[in-house]
Each structure stands twice: as C-alpha cells, then as structure tokens.
Assembly symmetry: C2
Amino acid sequence: MKHIIQTIAIASVALIAAGRADAATPSRPNIVVILADDLGYGDLACYGHPSIRTPNLDRMAADGMRFTDFYVAAEVCTPSRAALMTGRLPIRSGMCGDKRRVLFPNSTGGLPATELTIARMLKECGYATGCVGKWHLGHHPQFLPTSHGFDSYFGIPYSNDMDRDTSVGPKGRAAFWAPKSEYWKPPFMRDAVVLERGPDQTQLTPRYTAEALKFIRAHKAKPFFLYFAHNFPHVPLFASEKFHGKSRRGLYGDVVEELDWSVGQVLDTLRAEGLAENTLVFFTSDNGPWLTFETHGGSAGPLRDGKGSTWEGGMREPGIAWWPGRIKPGVINHELASSLDLLPTFAALAGATLPRNLLLDGVDMSPLLFGTGPGKRDTMFYYRGTQLFAVRKGSFKAHFITRSGYDKEPPAPHDPPLLFDLGSDPGERFDVAKDHPGVLADIAKEVERHRATVTPVPSQLEEAVKQN
Amino acid sequence: MKHIIQTIAIASVALIAAGRADAATPSRPNIVVILADDLGYGDLACYGHPSIRTPNLDRMAADGMRFTDFYVAAEVCTPSRAALMTGRLPIRSGMCGDKRRVLFPNSTGGLPATELTIARMLKECGYATGCVGKWHLGHHPQFLPTSHGFDSYFGIPYSNDMDRDTSVGPKGRAAFWAPKSEYWKPPFMRDAVVLERGPDQTQLTPRYTAEALKFIRAHKAKPFFLYFAHNFPHVPLFASEKFHGKSRRGLYGDVVEELDWSVGQVLDTLRAEGLAENTLVFFTSDNGPWLTFETHGGSAGPLRDGKGSTWEGGMREPGIAWWPGRIKPGVINHELASSLDLLPTFAALAGATLPRNLLLDGVDMSPLLFGTGPGKRDTMFYYRGTQLFAVRKGSFKAHFITRSGYDKEPPAPHDPPLLFDLGSDPGERFDVAKDHPGVLADIAKEVERHRATVTPVPSQLEEAVKQN
C-alpha cells in the first residue's frame, strides 16, 4: 500500500463547548486516566494474580467498579492509544498499519490534527489538561500532546525499548534480561522540548508520579484532565530501589507493584486535596501481555494469548473506575465496555457537545458507571492493523482470522468463522459455530454495516525516514 | 499390589481434650468448613473469573483472608478429603491408590478407624459435630461420618456421578450434557440410613443448605463443628430453578452461583444468630477443575492443568478464611498453606491436645490467620496416588513425574527434575533447573527426610466387591 503523508493542519472541528463559561462549576468532574503498558488481564491481584501484590488497585476496585469485559481497540500500542484518545477505531484515523504496526523513532507520521482528542475536547470546555508519560501518537512537533490539546507534557514520547544504543550491552534480547538503563536512549521531553536522551529508567515511575501529583495540586481551582500513561510494564523492565527485588513475581512483579504504588499516590493525593468526590479516575492498559518475553511479560489470566493477538488476551484488559460518592463501591461489572467509550463518556460528564460530523466508535458509558441504565454497547470489533480479525456481539465472538501474538505463527483464516461463547468459555477453547448459525449470520450483518462506515485513509505508521 | 482388608476397630487414640469440662466457654470458636467439589482455582470472581458471579464469596474474602497459595493434598477426591479430615497425607492412611484412585460404590474400604478425624477430635473437646453433603471416605457403616466422630450426617456418601442407571438416558458422556437427575441413583442418607436412591439433584444444594442452617441454629448453646461438603460443581451439574439458566457461564456457572448463594446463607445465619464473632469459617475445594468435561468443568485461572494432575491447577485451590473480629478483613495471604493444616489449627483453637504418637503432615496455621507470626509451612508434597510426583519448597517446585489430568496422556518421568519458580512463573512454563542446582539438591534432601517418615500401609481404595 502506497501512502501520501498528509499535510497536517489544525483542523477546524466545529466543537461547541456547552456552558464553556462556567467551566469551574463543581458539576464538571476532574478526569484522570491512568494507562499501563502491556499489562495483562490477569496481572492484578483483584483480577486473580497469585503472586503480584496490588493493594492500591485492589482498593480502587473495592471502592469503585471493576470491569470484567473491558476492551481496548487494538492489540498493540499506537493504534490502541489512538483509539482511546479519539473514541474512534484506528482504521479511521490511519493510526494502524500492517507492516509497521506501531510508530518507531524513524516514523514520520502521527495522529492527524483532524482528529479530536479527549484533551482538546476538554480544553475547549475549560479544563486544564496534562499528559504525563508515554504518548506514542507521533513524536514530531505537530503530533505531540501539546499539539493535541494538552497544556503540558512530560515523558517519553514512545516505547521505552526504542532507541537502543547498540554500542553498549549485550546483543539482542539478552539486553532485556538484566537490563541497564544506558542500553536505551529514548528522548525524555517536557512539552515539545527534549530534556534528556536515555533517562534513568529506574526513576521513570517515581518521576512520572511526582509530575502527576504536581499537576493535580496545581490545578485544584478548575476542572482538570490528567492523562497519566506509564511506560511500564513494557520491556525493558525497571523498578526503583524501593521496589526492585521486592516482589514474588520477579522483576515484572516489582514493576507492577511500583505502578500500583503510583496509583495509590494519585488516589491519596486526590483524597488529601479534597478532590476525590469530584474526580473520576479510570485505570486500564493499552493491550495484553507480551508473552514472548516469558517471565518479563505479563499474564492474561484465564484468557487466550496476549499482545499482538486478537484472541481475548490481546485486547481484554483490566478496567477500573473510581469516583467516591458517584460510583457505587465494590461493583463487578460484566457489561461490554471499551477504551473507545472514554471520550463520549467524558463528553457527557463535561457537557461537551461533539461535532455533528464526528463518526465515533465509542458510546457514553455513564449509565454503566452510575448504574442508571443498561450499557449501550453490544458489539466489539477486533482489528489487527487494518484487517478486521474478529467481532464480538453480546456473549459471542466470531474469528475470521486468528493469529497468535507469538510473532512466528502465521495468520489462519477461518471460513466459516470460529465462534466462541465468551460467557461459558472465556478461554476460547470450544468452537460452537455449528450450534449457532443464526449468530454467525447476525454477526455477518454487523460486519457489513460496520464496513459501510469505514473509508480508507492513509496509514500514519507505514511511512518512515529512510535509514542507511 | 495386594491388599489385606484391615480389621476395623475403634482405635484407642490417646486423645486428651484439655479443658473438656468447659467446652462451652466462648473462647472455643465454632468451626465451619465449606468444601466445594472440583471447583477450580480460577472459578470465583475474587480469584479472577470473568463471568461467574460470586458476591458472597467475594464478600467473605473482603471481610476475611484470601489465600493465593492454598493446597489440597491430592489431585482427586477421596485422598484429598481424607487428608483434610485427618491432617495426614493419604499415603499414611491408605486412602489413595494407583489403579482405583477414589472410592467407588463397589469399594469395600474406607478411612480406617485408627485415623483421628477433625470431627472426633472436636467431639472429644465437647463440640457438636455435623456433616452435611458428600463424604467419600467410605460408605460402609464402619466408615461413615457417624463412625468417625460426627453426631449426624445428611448427604450422598460419594460422588454424584456414581451409580449411573444405565437403563435410562443416553450412553456415556452424552448423559452429562443435558443431565437428568434420574440418570444417577446414588444413595441419600441420614446418619447411617439410606433415605432415598437417586435424589433429585436439582434440589441438592438447597437441601444441604437448609440442613446446614438447621444444624447451626440447633447448636448455638455449645461450640459446634460443621463440615459442609457440597457435591457440586462435580459433574453431572444441576442447579435449582432459581439459578438454572441464570449465569453467563452456562450450567457450570449456574451451579457455582448457587454454591455462592449457599455460602451467603451460612454467613448470614451466623450473623443473624449472633455467632459470627465466635465462628471460624473456611472455604475451599477438594481438587482442581475437571478439564476433560470442557465447559462443564471449571477453570484453574492462570494455573496449569486441573483435576487428576500434580501441576498447580490440580492441587492449588481457592482458600478463604472468615472470622469477624479475629481475622483482619481484606488480607490477601501469599504464604503456603494446606488443607492438611486445618486439623492442627482447629486443635489449637479448641484446645485439643493431640496424641503424642500422631504423625501429622499439617501445621497450625493460626499465626497466618491472626497475623501473629510467620507461617510454619514451607514445603508441600504433591502425590498422585501412592507416588510422589512433585515437591514445592518455598517458591520452587520440582517435578519428578508429570502427568496431565487429561486421562489419555501418559506420565512423563523427569531426571533431573523439572524446576519452576512459582512466584515468577505461576503457570509453570519455564524450567529453571539449570539455574538453581542448589535448590534441587535441597529438595532432594526434603524428599529423603519425608520418605523416611512414610511406612507402607494397605490401600483402602484398590479392593472392590467383584461384579459380574
């Protein structure tokens, strides 16, 4: 596929922020999204992990709502994050690719300015907007958080395993097993300025956390949106001294336990600042565990496969919502929900009126959060790059193509599709296509309806600066 | 192996019940053990199941202590139950076998009278003792609960799939997929009397529950021990009308959700009767999920394999302890613990002095329950029948022989043994034997010490009435 690099311009989206003048009224909640990187469905104690301790996330779930069927919109990083930030499938924004599946340091593309981000939407509503951590939606100036509605940015603009300095350390994967931070030299930025190359990754989570807390404390006067996207537990794994070597789950556990500490810091700060009852916090991850990294990759618990796959383990994630006084404590929610739903949900909470021409794949999940009604989502599309691999409707999931996240396994097309009942068979072991011909026909119609809404756009991921 | 059926006589165990006269003092807690049958490690919401709702067990865990590393002593029913009831490995009591691995209706053996049961120990201390549900430690008169220290018994004395009436219903496994209760004709007993043959299994859980509540209400005046052992979710699966067809997890989920309801009834009754703060309740299962029954079998969550196997999925189980006011709420305990430890723990709580000549494999787990000290257990032996297949010491587990619970897979001996670090690799995927020669040597010494304590005894399981 040939691509044309789009001329990027700040698009004139007709965004109407209803009640923009009274942005500071207490009815507009603060919103915090905490995103982990490559954390698996089964990696938190409250999702059944036997040896990782996550008391803060467990408490967040106990005081809030824990989703069992929360999905991201892609099985790898860049497209998943694009979907979260726009409420749209990556196929619509061009933030997916089949050869290059995420953005790399030599990529030239990024999230088009024509896309409406959560940050821009909320900024228009009078929110202070801060991005801390991993971005991965384009590292050239026009794609950075500060070009997409964030007042500020602090972090590594892509993955922490990028910009490997091959002049130091062992070759290949060996570098990951006893990683030293100097093996990797990614940029560390404040706003659009590179502060350092190759930051000390053992300090990454504490630094991000300090910045997040600073942001919260600095913006008590008006509503704020904090997008706190950790680089971990993506490999290479690093934990600070306080956590290194402390978990039963090895280095991976150390790193997750430090993330858990960080979540606790955020919630404690919200409480201490008297903001808890006016703040919605949502925790999730960008995709499933990177299983090829063995014990340095996470666990999808009872789900099949992991990162890079459209089996459940690749795209079903922990999802925890917390808002004391508004979200009933201790609820386990089994409804279908997605990171695609965050933008429309936040729009409803902030009173933003969305552009009429905006084609969203997300739905407002407020009824689920506040127990005011049934969920509006009954379908989930599982893309791998630009290809639709699977569709879930209700409890059933049809696979048209399957492919393991283990890179070497080739894709397998299925005609007729495989069909699993995820309720009775969450591990996708027993094909029930023969027993439910009506379901497959119904899903085929969904696919037809869906495809009619998809217009081809150039991939932002495939184009790269040529390297010698 | 040839066996001699032992002459059964009530053994004169020198049981000294310290303070027997003041048995009714409030310092002696009531004790309730609730045992599920073939429930997997991953089958409860609080252990991460995505589609089964278990609000009562989740609440029990939130108000009590949830163990992540709780083991039973065998991978199938009869030996596991014998171990729980005696605090001794089945190899010592003869309650295991290599050809016949559980007791069947034509078996002639059972738990020898020389074995001290929890019930007899507590009865000697002045407890009222009741057994409700599945026994499976011998159905001939001398082996029944009422011959082993229980004042009363109410239930099916073995598995609910036994005594298949082949004159009705489909042949073979087909009978399990849409089971009707009349396909099976096991005895239903009160004390030593058979009340019915082929009880309506859809009513089993409600009947057992009603009996358990009646027992609790009838014995408020003195301390009681209730052993409440469900027949479910062992196949064939049956739920009462209130639960049938109600779960997202199909019939298996219906059955587990009814068990969860039953647990809620017990805890609610203890609260309503003012007994909660003087009652220890412990919930677990006898072995892992029966995976060969596909969606009618449960899930071991992130653990490997299931029932019939000494991989973790076969023997690591949910373990939840509850005692309001004594056990700190919401604790997740990662220490090694076992059903073998219940007898010595209850002995400590009831003030029973155990016979000096009693060789126990269990240790008092009170320090874990009450947070008064470290656990006393650092080793776990995994037997399959009479053979030692694996040993866990600390975080490491060595496998000398592995065998899947899927019947058709042959056993695989390992020399050198496989070694897994269960902390960093709970799914037993990565053999680390080469990296830890010292650990294997250490475990070899444990095995040597252990074997020196084991004296061969006749198997109670192999001998059967000849059938034409």
